[in-house]
Structure formats: structure tokens, C-alpha cells
Point group: C2
Chain length 602, copies 2
């Protein structure tokens, strides 16, 4: 498989350097050892790794999915190389502090690398990403002992990390987990239970697997308040450091629609009463710890969705440039040659749609990552401000790319017509792969409840107010630029609607109770998301507009022209969708609440 | 695989008998031999056939897709039984006139049977459907000789029928076909060329394959005006009736994302200069003949999409009823048991969405079918009126179910969370299968151009005016019913917007030329489609509303309540989407026309 284009380096540099000013972060001492030259070099290396190691096995990993063999999971042979390269090359550790042998790169930069890997081969990127997230939980909350035993092996790519949350009866409702930890006098706990849907929960591409597992200590309070976090290895190091079985059994590997390069497993824990778990942090605080990893993973899911959509976009763009079919509407002379389909307005619309989704989503994800960096380098009120901004944007940055990524890939497939439906092209695989994202790390429905029920309401609406200020500041900047003022006005209208609708929904909470208040949380999330992406397009347009005025290189001109037209596309075709959503969100008809299960009988 | 529910018999009877009054057609002599008792019996038989013959192999046919073997295509062994049953049981012939040994059933009724079969197993239903469509082309336009040689074998299920249009360089642009027919002195033509994407183009479930093939007679005028229609069999009967090879070679069977139970093939025709083709009707009129089959197939695609969405809806409904997860928002006591997810407002929304799409789409398809029947039994102006109504609705009845079917199945999958992504449930297959529909029989983009560029404009807007009258008549009826008047007002507003937007776009045609006029034809199609489905929901609500007033049986009450809530769902959640589309359709920004291929460079 030739190294086709799966992402735009030009656009990544535009976002990193021109829009989000990555280098400015190096003025803070925490990121002070880096500079643009380093970033450029590492970016080149990431692209090379993605092209040489991950991309070539994209289709193969799909065609030869993980299978159970003798009680363990056999994955594609390239996985061990990927984990080794990502470990030894420092990619898993890239965002970790220097004290853990990490590179201490900004989250903004790490997110871009993650995007590159995921665009090349989403399944391949999951192994190291998951390992980094699990290791970070240990460095953040674990004892020195746990850090020393597990983290170097994980960051080195020798041991896989996982997050083990879901159980058969507890998916969206984590409060209902029943996996139990029994205290012993040796300090560790004996764990017993069952986990399902555990990504990379077992495989032969690594020496060992470290589960970051939620369980309830025997006698703990009911519900979420009784959940603790444990390190539960597949193989536990004995006193001499030798690895021995820890009674964690893979009972099943799921056969999935897509995302087939990575195994999703079912685990039986402690069937022989010999599974040891090591408490991370304090008892009963597991869920709050796990939220660190979940939030990071939610941004990661958004990145994965935008990345797959990026790969699909470039596959369809390539096809649209090559494929002659039909003539422009004004051309009545049938003897004239057919034109490449990229010349048809409707095909340009399908390409602009994809580009608007991919680049708009990526911008929001990088904006969120930047907030994480600003939180890192700030103190006091500033620190809290950026933490709150990241908090409120997380469900949006997870869901918008996930939901719209499906539609984006589907439009990419559509550009190829019948060929898009055939396995000779990768579009069908992308269409299957991208479907996972609205499901894992909290479904879209759960994200809607999180946004409206928690994030918008928390601290008396402080996160929401801060967010409004951020968007308003972009509106003000754009209003002062002649060519952008009309778009600034449109966003100002949309922001006003966001305030109105939010106020209306909040009033329902008191008047009609939580069920009515939250009934349309998913639609509210969609509504909020469109406006957030419109904001990010205006942020990009401000930079592109100025660059067009100052930049005369033809190649740059074309890039910025493309940016501006994609920006205009978003404001003309996507932003107006909020007006349909507003009608519903303000509608007093309580259809979904009044609907009864038995009315579905027929 | 147990016979799970894949469609609602209650809803089919509601639409057939209560809404579209099937029996009233039997007052016309053409359909006079039938009565409700016959319809009921045949409906039972169709459901039995679907459950016993088609449904059980749904997953197997997907897992064992067609493969090339010794130059021909091997399909799942159940295919021969399906074709035999559909032939001998009279299902392929069910819509044919008595003179061809058909049952002369109304199109409305045949569409319902087609829906039942497609919901059970879309791939399985394609074989007989395609055969019926091909045979009808011969009975409509072919010579007595062609009819006698081919039709009985096709309607009997012994010979497969196909439509062979697409070529490597001519997909959406059929004017560019190059397959050539050379006249001979024996009456037949020698055919030479290549066809791609031919559904059921070859398989071992039948004795022979009859291609209804487009080709250009040597020296014919360029473009669409030079296209003729031929019968090109795989095996041709010699003077004695023995079958001999006709030099039609399968060069490839495509490996597809879904819809894997049926083979899509590439054909080489006349490689050895020994392929005979038999002209159907007059030379150069092939495309207009073929449009009969294409229009029928377009309705068939809509039915297929709605049918797959129906199967996905019932699979997700079943899961939602069984699966306990979480508690209602007002329930803070974690010790209370979890509730089935069907009790969550957001899950009810996802189910209502699916039901609204499935039942709304099916209603529009049956409305279109009814117009076909009324055309059949009418004369003069009336006949033309129904023909025009069917004409203008065909692109909508093809596209709305196809596009929304994808989203509907995707929501079905979402209801199952992680399980929806696993192959233990059929949702993943439905998600793959349903993706074909916006592509085959004319992409959604082509349907948009057909609707706005041809159907709305033809005969000086007559079809469009007739359509407005039909919708207006429903609005007037509903306005007189207290409980429905507010919805009648909403549809009246929408219809007014349809007129405004249509007038605006028509004005662009003259002012800015065809490219600007047609640039947003796909969005116009979407806009038109939402209003058409809203109309069909009001049509259904009028019946359900009255039934609720008169009907006291609990089971019926639940069904009609469900109808009314789904109707309200559509008006509250789906219809408002037109207001976003109107903003775009009235927007003077010509983004997609101004976009240039080189601005996609990055």
C-alpha cells in the first residue's frame, strides 16, 4: 500500500504555529527547554513513523483481526514493533514530566502527534495512547513503589496499559460495578469480578498488561462514592522481579464492526482467588482519579474521530481529482471530454463538508489541549479558569468529531460512488472504524448529560461564563476586520441564542424537574458543538485572512484561500443548523418524556 | 437465528387498509378480481416466506459472500431456493398482468411484499425484484418473440434478470457509454463492451441470466439520444431451445462493505465476437425505456432502505426493552434497581427517531405506489396527473429513506452501546448493508439534479403544482380537526416555504445560469424530502387521531398512541430542520461554485 496522504502537514503547522502559537508556551519555564526547531524535528519524526510503521498495515490489521489462541490474544505481528518503537522512541512518554524520563512536551503538541498516528492507523495508535493514559494515572495518584514498578515498563512500551471500567451490568452506569477488592494483611487486595469491553486487555505484542481497574473495596459505600482504583497486572512481579500469573483471564475477544486492529476483551478476574490488586491513592476516590484518564481519553477519542475523517477526506479528494465523470451544467456539447468530478459544485460541497468537519474539529481539540497547557503553567484563578474551560469543552470535543466524523467519512465514501462501497478503496474501512467513537469513553448521550447536567451548571455557571467570554473575545477581534465582520455578527447571534436556550433549559430544571430539563441534552450538545466549531473557524479565519493580505507565495495563497472558503462553507451550510435545533430546544412539547414503553408495541 | 421481529404487520395493515384504502382499488375492473380476504392471505404468505426462507440466512449470506469460481459466480446455496420459491410461488409475477400469467396485484400491495422481504434479508430480496423489473421492461417494450422466450423463465424464477447500464467511464453520466451493438443481417446485433457494478450479473442460483443492457448501435447519434436497449442473455437459446454460451464473461465479483448476499459483477461482453443482443423496441430509445425500470428500481431502493431501517429499529427496540442500565434522573437512591433503558428519555428519542424515519418513509413509498396504481386505472388528464405525481416524488422516495436510513440504523446501533458494535448483534451488518442505498440507482446528488433540474421544472411546473395541491388537501383536512390544527399550521408554513424557496431557485436559473441554480440541488432534495415526510405523517395522524376516538381495544389504543407520539416527534424534532436548510438555500454566498480545485491543495 503506497503512502497515500492521510493528513495535512501544512494544516497542522498552521494550527500549531500560526493559530495556537505553540512556541509561546516555551516562554514558561515548564516548557522552556523546547523551541520551534525541536518541534519541527519531532513533527517530522512523527510523520515518518506514521508513514513507515503505522500506515502500511492499516488494511492488513483490519483483515487479520485479533483472535483468541490458547487463552491469550494474538494480534497482528506489527503490534509488537509499534509498541517497541513508540516506547523506545519516547512517544509514549512524550507528554510526561522529565522526572519520569518524559519529554515534557506541551499537550498541544502531543495531541498533534496523536492525530498523525491515528490518521495513519487508528487501531495502531490506540496501544501506545492507552498505555500513556494508564501510566499517567499511576504517576498522578500512585505510590512511589507503584510508579517504580510499572511506569518505566509502560513508558518503554514493554507493558500495555488499559482502563478497566465496564462490567456486564455497568456500562454507562459505573456506579453499579460489582468487582470487589478484599483487603489482605499484606497491603495488597484480592480482586474478584468481571470486566468487559476492555481495549487492548490482553495481547501478545507486549510482555505484560497493566490494568487500571475500578473495583469496590468490601464494605464500601454504595454507588460512585464506593469506587476505588487499583493497579491489576496480568503478570505480577514477585519479590525478585520475576513475572508470575496474577489470575486475570481473557474469556473472550469481541468481533467488531471496525477498529479491528485492536482487541477488545472480556476479562475474568480472580477466578482462582489469586488476583492481587494494588490500591492507587486513597480508598473510594477511584472514580475521581479515573476521570483524569477518562477526560484525556475523551479528547483522544475526538482526535481519533477527526483523524479517521481526515484520512477519508484525503482519499476522497484524491479520487475526485482523478475521476472524470459528466460535464458542467452549462456544457451541452456531449462531444466535449468529461471533467474531473472535483469540478462539480456538489462534489466540492461534499469535500468542503469533510474539510470543515476535520479542520474545525481538530481546531477545537487543539484549543482544548492548549487550555490543558495553560492550566499547567498557570496558578491560582488563572489555573482554575483554564481547568474549567477544558472541563466544559471536553464533552463537546469528544462528541462533535465523533458524531460528525461518521457523516464526514460517509460523504467521503459517497464521493467515490460505487467504488466507495468496494474494498479496493479504504473508505469502507474508515466508515466502519469511525463508528466506534460515539460509543466508547461515554456515549454521546452521556456526554450530553455531562455537558448540560454538570458542566454548564457547575460552580454556579462559572465554566459556561468563561466559555462565553472566550468566544466573545474572538467575535470582537473579527468585528474589527472588514471582511470578517459579517461572520462575526453571525457568531454573535449564535452565541446570544446559546445564552437564551441555556437559560431556558435551566429554568425548566426548577419548574419541571430533572427529567424534562435533561430530556434533550443530546440535542443541546449538538447545538453547543456547532457554535463551538463556528467559533474555531472564526479563530482560524482571522489568521488566514491576515495571511492572505501579507502572503504572496502561490502555494500559501491557495492554502489560505481554501481555508477561507471552508470557513465560509461552515457559516453558510453548517452554522444555520442551529436554527432547527433552537426550535426544538424551545418547543414545549415533551414528546420523549410522555412517550411510554408500551406505545412502542405494535 | 430465531425469527426476531424485523417489521410491523400491524403498521403495514394500518397503511394498506386504514390509510391508503387498498380495497378501494378493487372497485376498478383492472384490480377487480381481488378483495381484502385475498390480500390478507397473501400478506400472511409473504410474511411466512420472509420468516422461513429469507430471514434465517441473513447473517450467513453476509459471512459467505459470493466468490468467483471457474469463471462463474458462486452464491450462498439458499439463493436457488429463494429464486425457485419466488418464481413458483408467483411472487416475481405478482404485479404482472394476467396475460403474462401474473397476479395483477396493485403496486401498493406489491410494494408492501417487497418491504417485507427486504426487511427480512435485503440481499435475498434483490434477486427476485431485479428479475421482475427486467421482465417488465420486456413485456412493456419487447417483441412477442422476446416475451415468449424470456419472460416465462424469468417470472418462473429460473432465469435471473439484471439491468446492465454502468461502464467504467459511464456511471452517473450514462450518455458516455461505449458498449456497441453491430447490426447483422439475422435481425440480432453483435454486442461488444464492458459493464461494471451489475447486480446479480452472474450466479449459480439460476440456470441463466438475462441482461437488459444499454448499448449504442454503430453510428448512432452521440450522447443519450443514441442509446438503445437490448436483451443480452448469458446463455442464448438456439433454434431447438438448447442454451449455448453467448460470450458474456464475468471478469470480477466486487468485494463490498455490505449487501454481501448478492453479487455485484463486472462483465466483459463479446470478447470473442460472439455475443448476440436482441433489440428491445425501437433503436435509440433505450434510455427512455430503461427509465421505466430505473424509476421502479428507485422506489425499490427506497423500500430496501426503509426495510433495513425497520429491521434495525426492531432489533434496537428489543434490546432497549431488555437491557437494564442506570436510573431516571429524579432517582437518587442508588440501591434501587436499574431500569430498562427504554425508560430513558434519550433512548426513547432514538427509538422515536427510527420509528419516524421507518414509518414516514414507508408511507411516502406507499403513497408513490398508490399513484402508480391510480395512473394504471385512470385515463386522460387524471392519468397524466398521477404519472406526474409519481414522477416528482420518485427522487424523494428514493433518497429520503436512503439518506435517513443510514442515520436511523446508526441510532439503532447506538441504542445497544458497545454491543451494537459487536457482531453478536445484527446492527453492524445493517449499518453496512444500508450504506449502499444513496449510491445505487442514481446517487443522491443525481436525484437532487433530477428533482430540481427536471421534475420541478417539467411541463412548466405542472408536477410541482399538482404536488402542492395534494399536500394542501391534507392540510385542509387536518385544519378541521381540533387536535391536529396546530400541526396543520406547521405544515402549511413549511409548504409556503417550499414555494418560496423553489421560486427563488428558479429565478437563479435565469439570472445566474444553471451551475448556480443547481449548486444546492442536494440540499433542496433534503428540504423537499422533510416536508414530504411531514405531509405523510399528517396523513397518518388524521387516521390515527380518529381511530383513537373510536377505538377502545387496549392493544389498538397503544398502537395509535404510539403513532401520535411518533407524529409529534417528527413535527417537533425533524420538521424544524428545514429552517436551517432554508437559510442556506436563500443565502447568496456561492461558496461551492467559487471553490476551485487548487484551493484544496495543502
Amino acid at each position: 500500500m503506497a503512502a497515500a496522504k492521510f493528513m495535512s502537514e501544512r494544516n497542522l503547522k498552521f494550527l500549531l504555529y500560526e493559530v495556537y502559537d505553540l512556541s509561546s508556551l516555551t516562554r514558561h519555564s515548564y516548557y522552556g527547554t523546547h523551541n520551534q526547531k525541536v518541534f519541527d524535528m519531532v513533527l517530522d519524526a512523527a510523520i515518518k513513523l506514521a508513514k513507515d510503521l503505522m500506515w502500511p498495515t492499516l488494511m492488513e490489521m483490519d483483515h487479520e483481526p485479533p483472535e483468541m489462541s490458547d487463552g491469550s490474544v494474538k494480534v497482528h505481528p506489527s503490534v509488537s514493533g509499534i509498541m517497541r518503537e513508540c516506547g523506545e522512541g519516547g512517544w509514549i512518554a512524550s507528554g510526561f514530566p522529565i522526572e519520569f524520563e518524559g519529554e515534557q512536551f506541551p499537550v498541544l503538541f502531543c495531541s498533534v502527534c496523536r492525530f498523525i498516528f491515528s490518521a495513519a492507523n487508528y487501531s495502531a495508535a490506540v496501544y501506545p495512547d492507552l498505555t500513556a493514559g494508564a501510566a499517567r494515572l499511576i504517576t498522578s495518584f500512585g505510590s512511589k513503589d507503584l510508579v517504580e514498578t510499572y511506569v518505566p515498563n509502560m513508558l518503554g512500551g514493554k507493558w500495555q496499559g488499559t482502563m478497566a471500567l465496564t462490567e456486564p451490568q455497568a456500562g454507562s452506569s459505573l456506579a453499579d460495578i460489582t468487582t470487589t477488592a478484599y483487603p489482605t494483611e499484606h497491603g495488597y487486595y484480592m480482586i474478584k469480578g468481571q470486566k468487559i469491553f476492555i481495549s487492548a486487555g490482553d495481547h501478545d505484542g507486549v510482555e505484560n498488561v497493566t490494568h487500571l481497574m475500578l473495583a469496590k473495596i468490601q464494605g464500601a459505600p454504595p454507588g460512585a462514592k464506593g469506587i476505588s482504583l487499583f493497579v491489576v497486572p496480568k503478570l505480577r512481579p514477585d519479590e525478585t522481579g520475576q513475572l508470575e500469573s496474577n489470575d486475570v483471564i481473557v474469556s473472550q475477544v469481541y468481533h467488531k464492526l471496525g477498529y479491528r486492529g485492536a482487541p477488545i476483551t472480556e476479562l475474568s478476574i480472580g477466578d482462582k482467588d489469586d488476583c492481587r490488586g494494588y490500591l492507587v491513592g486513597e480508598p473510594h476516590k477511584g472514580l475521581s482519579y479515573m476521570f483524569q484518564m477518562m477526560n484525556e481519553s475523551r479528547i483522544g477519542v475526538g482526535i481519533g474521530a477527526a483523524a479517521i475523517a481526515s484520512a477519508a477526506y484525503y482519499a476522497s479528494l484524491d479520487y475526485a481529482r482523478q475521476r472524470p465523470q459528466g460535464r458542467l451544467p452549462a456544457q451541452k456539447d456531449i462531444s466535449m471530454p468529461q471533467v474531473p468530478i472535483i469540478q462539480h459544485a456538489d462534489v466540492k460541497r461534499m469535500l468542503l463538508f469533510q474539510r470543515a468537519i476535520v479542520e474545525g474539529s481538530l481546531a477545537l481539540l487543539l484549543q482544548s489541549s492548549r487550555y490543558a497547557d495553560l492550566e499547567q503553567v498557570s496558578t491560582g484563578d488563572e489555573k482554575e479558569k483554564y481547568a474549567l474551560l477544558l472541563d466544559i469543552l471536553t464533552p463537546v470535543a469528544k462528541s462533535y468529531p465523533s458524531e460528525m466524523g461518521i457523516l464526514s467519512v460517509s460523504q467521503g465514501l459517497q464521493c467515490l460512488g460505487g467504488y466507495g462501497y468496494c474494498e479496493d478503496f479504504p473508505l469502507g474501512q474508515y466508515y466502519r472504524d469511525v463508528r466506534i467513537h460515539p460509543i466508547h469513553e461515554g456515549t454521546t448521550g452521556i456526554q450530553g448529560l455531562d455537558l448540560l447536567g454538570r458542566k454548564v451548571m457547575m460552580k454556579n455557571g462559572r465554566a459556561f461564563s468563561l466559555y462565553l467570554e472566550e468566544v466573545q473575545s474572538t467575535i470582537d477581534t473579527a468585528a474589527a476586520i472588514d471582511g470578517l465582520a459579517p461572520f462575526s455578527d453571525k457568531l454573535a447571534d449564535a452565541l446570544h441564542e446559546l445564552e437564551e436556550v441555556t437559560g431556558h433549559l435551566k429554568s425548566l430544571a426548577g419548574k419541571d424537574g430533572p427529567e424534562v430539563f435533561l430530556a434533550d441534552a443530546t440535542l443541546y450538545l449538538e447545538f453547543f458543538g456547532i457554535i463551538a466549531i463556528a467559533w474555531q473557524w472564526l479563530v482560524q479565519a482571522i489568521v488566514a485572512y491576515k495571511a492572505l493580505e501579507n502572503n504572496t507565495k502561490k502555494k500559501d495563497q491557495q492554502f489560505y484561500q481554501g481555508k477561507m472558503l471552508t470557513f465560509r462553507y461552515f457559516y453558510s451550510y453548517e452554522l444555520p443548523k442551529i436554527y432547527g435545533l433552537i426550535k426544538r430546544l424551545m418547543d414545549p412539547d415533551r414528546v420523549t418524556v410522555e412517550m411510554q414503553a408500551e406505545f412502542f408495541n405494535d
